[in-house]
Amino acid sequence: MIKAILIFNNHGKPRLIRFYQYFAEDMQQQIIRETFHLVSKRDDNVCNFLEGGSLIGGSDYKLIYRHYATLYFVFCVDSSESELGILDLIQLICFFVSVCVFVETLDKCFENVCELDLIFHMDKVHYILQEVVMGGMVLETNMNEIVAQVELQNRMEKSEGGLSAAPARAVSAVKNMNLPEIPRNINIGDINIKVPSLSPF
């Protein structure tokens, strides 16, 4: 059984969490923190298995993770799962995410799942995940089957108009006209532009 799937970035910010056993929200956050703490201090060239997460599971459970660029994919599984199998599965899921979320960027190497893809499409990634793992058990590992099912469901959503269909786009255009919002929305990132202080008259 898989007990939890956690995806967080290099700073421990959760990008997708899926618990197959109930934990209250604060406990979930604590587990994420603990897992991040355990995983982040490991080098990239050490093994991908980790025992001893104290909050989740117990002696029977282990953490299996992969680190891609800025993201950690962590599975918490018990002894009924094959360790190497789960590692493959993580790779698969990364692949699906890049294939299904952005069909147009199919040529993208799957090891480079962009963190932004995940952030803005958390719901879609969840839907993909649901086709692979259900209730803590691996549902399907056949790549074509999974992609086909996800595609069909997305098509169905589109035919219904979808949440993010045309009107919504028009809306965002309208919103952009909402001028007072704009300055706050510009992200200057690391570049620090300092306005030169004008000498007082």
């Binding site: 059984m1 959760p14 997708l16 899926r18 197959y20 109930y22 929200e25 604060d26 956050q29 080098d43 060239n45 050490v46 093994c47 991908n48 298995f49 980790l50 025992e51 009924s80 094959s82 360790e83 190497l84 199998g85 590692l87 493959d88 952030i119 803005f120 958390m122 719901d123 969840h126 839907y127 649901q130 259900m134 209730g135 803590g136 058990m137 691996v138 549902l139 399907e140 590992t141 056949n142 089957e145 099912q149 069909l152 469901q153 169905m156 959503e157 219904e160 979808g162 949440l163 993010s164 009107p167 919504a168 028009a170 809306v171 965002s172 309208v174 919103k175 706050r184 929305n185 992200n187």
Partner: protein, 1260 residues
């Protein structure tokens, strides 16, 4: 209204969607919390609107916020609203949100039951899918109970997408509602053979998960899984199955024997590391389970160890890690084979990866022996010094202690060395494990009497240098050691050389900075030391020393009296007053030493950790009874006190207490004494029995007196190293002495056999440096030896420990009772008239019938056993006949039982004996078509009793082929066995037949009357394919036919299982199977192989062994029978030579083999006939001399039909071809004439089937 919609969409225009929310959060890194709280306010506004799109959008955002740790349970009702939207887009959002934040405590879950049910039965498969996925995350016991039946129905949905989800979710349902397991299990088992690989994988997944927790209930599925294992190509499924077998083998060693070969083949053939690793793991599990009985598996162990070594040497850290992990499993049973890789494992200790180092440490634990313990520990001590990072160092420390103390200090030959190691460990900077070292010191000092002198000396030094341990920083961990040191010095103070000095050390002012509990021990033990000092100076009148000691105590103790710690204070003031009093007496020259020592007289013995739990409750003590009535209701809900005494069942307690009288107790004590006397490591605590050394078993161990006056502190060298050196020298000396002795002996025995020199030292040769007495732990006198107190009563899987065997067999004690059926909603009429409903009306009277039937059956079984024994003696045929008669009413009982079962049980005879049979021998095919008429009932009894002994003769065949003397005798025996086997085989086919046909048939027949019917004659569906002097090939009439729906529309697949039996005395290998393809039928070859390439048979055959292989053919048209020519080539390998041989055969595909037994209800059948799409044909058979039900059974069995309805001597039957052709038969009989009217939508198929039916009956 229109206005409202417009308003809604305008509102929506200014809503944020998920992307906007995420962007906003990213842009407000500084005041994220504040931004989110405004967002939540917005969301609350959005949720208040009527527009479902707005709500869904809000819920979607909430899901994101939930991930960030915000509690969104307040929106639970809105989530339910979105879930119940009719649009898939919104529904999906709702279910996603629900699966993220609903749980058993969410109260709105109650409201969802009907919505979910509606979604489950939705015509849109994705609505159903989404509901199933969501449900899998938040299913509660209530939901599970209410929806179990709906999900059960979905397990047979036409869409594989739904089927696999429904199958998978059943596991969650079982967990929450264990009652559903029994009724749902038959269908779950069916899904193991589902044509869709996804569904199959899901079913395997669920059963593996169930079986992992309660493996014994699933043993009977082993043959099925075995079949899957040899046929499946899906690595995920294979891994799951192989893991499951790993859990099953400990319960059934014979299973392991059967598994070894296919697993070894897989290990050799697979390229997938994950599969290889799991195979190795399961082989290890098998070897562990076999380790007691079968010594001859060194090859498999070698293979495993070898493969693991490759993994460990791999540069991939993951493989290295797993290799070490698996290695540690082998270690438990085959330490020797692992020990040879010590170099590799020690190398891993230096790995940069901490996980790998820890795994290697684990391995070391099992690799130590008396011989290498010191060496290994020395290496670890070096690592301790080098290790950076306290966690790893702490781990090392605990491992050192574990390794040394394992199994009662088994490997320690020199305890002085161990104590010095412990003392060295105390010098570690900043460890957390001070208490661990302390407890080891205490343990050793208490339990090893011989070491006490040395231990006390070391502890005294520790106490003297206490300032080093406490140091400048408050290293709280390590000062725990002082606790042990003080206690040991006090308790065994008679060994102290200079108690006065130690006493002084214990009363230094600095002690007051230690933690309270340590100070308390200091004070208490100071008093003990005081007693010793007094005793030493006993007799000397007006001893100056004694009085000085009293003065010292009186001076120093007040410091402790002022301690803030209550215990320290109390003890100190008590002892202070005592000493003051003693001083007074001393001044009067009164002899006090005796009295003071009496304060601390008596020896303390260790107590077993479970001792308290094992104290039986005294008679008449009721711990649950109130001593005083509780004062008020409100307070009575306090926590229940934990049980101080072991709980006992009331029945036993009384009888046992009366039984255990004085005599019994005395006897037990005697037994225990005897036991301890015979064990060199155990000795009774009382000093009188300390001289048990001359017990017969211990005598021969040479006790070497070692000179301990070695200078223990060599500058620049840790003490323990000294011991290592010493030990080596000592062993060499010993060895030399032993050799001398041997030489002497040899000289005496000259001329006689020469023994090879005993090479490397074996374990037993190493003698302990000095005699070690380990005091046993004490237990209460009449404690029960039980180990089941480790189970966790809260384990949810405990509830799933449900016996499923008898459900599968239908033969034994407990078929499904009515109460066990899944709740079915009554207000919704079912489309099909299902058997479940029929049963409801009949169930009440049958319940009683069933019971009486059961009792009868028991009696009968007894009778049968008795008669069977007689039969063996007399071999009278009459009795067989009697049994035949006897079995008739029983079958009637059975069929009644099956009616009661909520789902059709799969076979009507003892499946357990089937399993036995399957396990006891490789499938030996019976002589084809040889139909004798032995009593099937008798054979059934035989299988259960004969299967066990049968497995044994197999072994000598394999293991001692050179045994020539008894071979003749054996041959005879084997012949007999073979006959027996054949009989059984037939019996098995009998099940097989019922399995296939009646399972569906019986349910529908039940409308008619159930007659007392004669037992069916055995039927076989194996036919001889080809045979020569080396090999025999048998073909099973395509028993597993399935079609692939979808992409290949006109192409179907047929699986043919062929049994290969080696008839020669030579080894058959490299078997290759080839068939000349026709236009219509083709052998499925692996990708990349040419059209004429042959397939390698995936096994080899040792002499006398048979095995089954499956070949898949793709067939285009199924309306005509087919014949394919084929060749089998193989190499015959005997001791001297190996030759190439070949065997030609013809594969015959009958039209019958394209039919699948498909149950059909009468109403559907009637509709089908009415539709008018079917074309008719008919057949007359003359001179059929068999009861009608035999006739039906034959058609069912040989031609894969099922009975739809039967009235008197007329029956309608149905079957379906793999390409979906319906075949309907109406069979009528009168006076040896049988007429069959048939209808089918494909006339030529029908014609061929009828021809085949005719052939079947012309044979008999």
């Amino acid at each position: 209204m229109a206005l409202k919609i417009v308003k809604g969409s305008i509102d929506r225009m200014f809503d944020k969607n998920l992307q906007d929310l995420v962007r906003g959060i990213r842009n407000h890194k500084d005041d994220e919390a504040k931004y989110i709280s405004t967002c939540i306010d917005e969301i609350k506004q959005e949720l208040k609107q009527d527009n479902i799109a707005v709500k869904a959008n809000a819920v979607c955002k909430l899901t994101y916020l939930q991930m960030l740790g915000y509690d969104v349970s307040w929106a639970a009702f809105n989530i339910v609203e979105v879930m119940s939207s009719s649009k898939f887009t919104y529904k999906r959002i709702g279910y996603l949100a629900a699966s993220q934040c609903f749980h058993e405590g969410t109260d709105v879950i109650m409201l969802t039951t009907n919505q979910i049910r509606k979604d489950l039965s939705s015509p849109n498969q994705y609505d159903t899918g989404v509901a199933l996925t969501g449900l899998s995350c938040f299913v509660t016991p209530d939901l599970a109970r209410d929806l179990a039946n709906d999900i059960m129905t979905l397990m047979s949905h036409t869409k594989p997408y739904i089927r696999k989800k429904a199958v998978l979710i059943m596991y969650k349902v079982f967990l929450k509602y264990p009652e559903s397991l029994r009724p749902a299990f038959p269908r779950l088992k069916e899904k193991l053979e589902d044509p869709d690989p996804g569904v199959q994988s899901a079913a395997v997944n669920v059963i593996c998960e169930l079986a992992r927790r309660n493996p014994k209930n699933y043993l009977s599925l082993a043959p099925l899984f075995f079949k899957l294992m040899t046929s499946s190509t899906n690595n995920w499924v294979l891994i799951k199955i192989i893991k499951l077998f790993g859990a099953l083998t400990p319960l059934e060693p014979r299973l392991g024997k059967k598994l070894i070969e296919p697993l070894t083949n897989l290990i050799h053939s697979t390229s997938a590391m994950s599969l290889l690793y799991e195979c190795v793991n399961t082989v290890i599990a098998v070897l562990i389970s076999l380790s007691s009985g079968m010594p001859n598996h060194s090859a498999s162990i070698q293979l495993c160890v070898q493969k693991l070594r490759i993994l460990i040497e791999d540069s991939d850290q993951n493989l290295k890690y797993l290799g070490l992990l698996a290695m540690s499993k082998i270690l438990k049973t085959h330490p020797k084979s692992v020990q040879s890789h010590k170099d590799l494992i020690l190398q891993c200790l230096d790995d940069k990866d901490e996980s790998i180092r820890l795994r290697a440490l684990d391995l070391l634990y099992g690799m130590v022996s008396k011989k290498n313990l010191m060496e290994i520990v020395k290496k670890l001590m070096l690592h301790v010094d080098k290790a950076e990072g306290t966690t790893y160092r702490d781990e090392l420390l605990t491992k050192i202690i574990d390794i040394c103390s394992q199994s009662n200090f088994q490997y320690i030959t020199n305890f002085e060395w161990y104590i010095s190691i412990l003392v060295e460990l105390t010098r570690l900077e900043g460890t957390r494990h001070g208490h661990l070292i302390a407890s080891q010191m205490l343990d050793v000092a208490i339990r090893v009497k011989a070491i006490r002198g040395f231990a006390v000396a070391q502890m005294a030094t520790l106490l003297d240098n206490a300032h080093l341990l406490t140091g400048n920083t408050q290293r709280n961990g390590i000062c725990e050691v002082l606790y042990a040191a003080a206690w040991i010095c006090g308790e065994f103070s008679e060994h102290l050389e200079d108690p006065m000095q130690t006493l002084e050390a214990m009363l230094r002012p600095k002690v007051a900075t230690l933690p309270g509990h340590i100070q308390a021990v200091y004070v208490q033990n100071a008093a003990k030391l005081f007693a010793t000092v007094l005793r030493k100076h006993d007799g000397e009148t007006e001893s100056q020393a004694a009085q000085e000691t009293s003065q010292l105590l009186i001076d120093r103790l007040p410091l402790f009296v002022q301690s803030a710690n209550l215990e320290v204070q109390e003890r100190a003031s008590c002892i202070l007053q005592l000493v003051k009093y003693i001083q007074k007496l001393q001044q009067k020259n009164v002899e006090v030493a005796e009295e003071v020592t009496a304060l601390f007289a008596g020896e303390l013995n260790p107590v077993a950790p479970k001792a308290q739990k094992k104290v039986p409750i005294p008679e008449g003590l009721d711990l649950d009874a109130w001593i005083n009535e509780p004062p008020s209701e409100s307070e009575s809900e306090d926590e229940k006190p934990k049980a101080v005494f072991a709980k006992e069942e009331p029945k036993h307690s009384r009888s046992r207490h009366t039984e255990v009288d004085e005599k019994e107790l005395a006897r037990r004590r005697e037994v225990r004494k005897q036991e301890q006397a015979n064990n060199p490591f155990y000795i009774k605590a009382s000093p009188s029995s300390q001289k048990v050394y001359d017990a017969p078993g211990v005598e021969h161990i040479p006790v070497v007196q070692i000179d301990l006056s070695v200078p223990l502190k060599v500058p620049g060298m840790p003490m323990s190293d000294q011991y290592l050196k010493l030990e080596v020298e000592r062993r060499q000396k010993e060895k030399a002495e032993r050799k001398k002795k041997e030489k002497k002996k040899k000289r005496e025995k000259r001329g006689k056999e020469r023994k090879a020199d005993s090479g490397p030292e074996s374990e037993e040769d190493i003698t302990p440096a000095h005699q070690v007495d380990i005091v046993t732990e004490e237990m209460p006198e009449n404690a029960l030896p039980s180990d089941d107190d480790d189970k966790d009563p809260n384990d949810p899987h405990k509830a799933l420990d449900i016996d499923l065997d008898n459900l599968l067999s239908g033969f034994s004690s407990r078929p499904l009772a009515d109460s066990e059926k899944l709740p079915v909603r009554t207000h919704r009429p079912e489309a099909l008239k299902s058997p479940a409903e029929d049963r409801d009306s009949e169930s009440v009277p049958q319940e009683t019938k069933k019971k009486s039937g059961k009792e009868k059956k028991k009696d009968k079984e007894k009778d049968r056993k008795r008669s069977k024994e007689e039969k063996k003696k007399k071999k009278k045929h009459k009795e067989v006949e009697e049994e035949l008669l006897e079995s008739q009413p029983e079958e009637a009982v059975q069929s009644e039982e099956t009616k009661e079962a909520a789902a059709p049980p799969t076979s009507t005879s003892a499946e357990a004996s089937d399993l036995d049979f399957w396990l006891s021998s490789a499938p030996v095919p019976p002589a084809a078509q040889e139909v004798t008429a032995p009593s099937s009932a008798a054979a059934a009894v035989d299988t259960s009793s004969a299967a066990a002994p049968e497995s044994e003769p197999d072994e000598p065949k394999d293991t001692e082929p050179e045994d020539t003397k008894s071979s003749k005798h054996k041959k005879k025996k084997q012949k007999k066995e073979k006959e027996e086997k054949e009989k059984k085989k037939k019996k098995r086919h009998h099940h097989h037949h019922q399995h296939h046909s009646d399972a569906g048939g019986e349910d529908s027949v039940q409308n008619g009357t159930v007659e007392e019917e004669e037992p069916l004659p055995p039927m076989s569906n194996y036919s001889l394919l080809a045979e020569n002097s080396y090999i025999k090939m048998m073909k099973e009439d395509a028993d597993q036919v399935y079609d692939i729906q979808g992409n290949h529309q006109d192409e179907s697949k047929v699986v043919v299982s062929v049994i290969f039996e080696n008839k020669s005395d030579s080894f058959l290998k490299s078997m290759e199977f080839n068939v000349l393809d026709s236009l219509n039928s083709k052998l499925q070859r692996p990708e990349g192989a040419g059209a004429h390439d042959s397939l390698t048979v995936p096994f080899q055959l040792p002499p006398g062994v048979s095995n089954e292989a499956r070949f898949v053919f793709s067939v285009q048209s199924i309306i005509m029978p087919q014949k394919l020519k084929g060749t089998l080539t193989f190499i015959v390998k005997s001791d001297e030579s190996s030759t190439h041989e070949k065997l030609d055969f013809k594969l015959h595909f009958t039209c019958t083999s394209y039919l699948i037994t498909t149950p059909c209800y009468s109403d559907a059948y009637a509709k089908l006939l009415e539709s008018g799409d079917l074309k008719g044909s008919s057949l007359r058979l003359e001179g059929i001399n068999m009861p009608f039900h035999h006739l039906l059974a034959r058609i069912c069995f040989h031609h894969h039909f099922s009975v739809v309805e039967r009235i008197d001597s007329c029956a309608s039957m149905y079957s379906r071809s793999i390409q979906g052709h319906h075949v309907c038969l109406l069979v009528k009989t009168s006076d040896q004439t049988v007429s069959i009217d048939a209808k089918c939508d494909e006339p030529s198929l029908l014609g061929n089937v009828l021809d085949e039916i005719k052939q079947t009956f012309s044979k008999c």
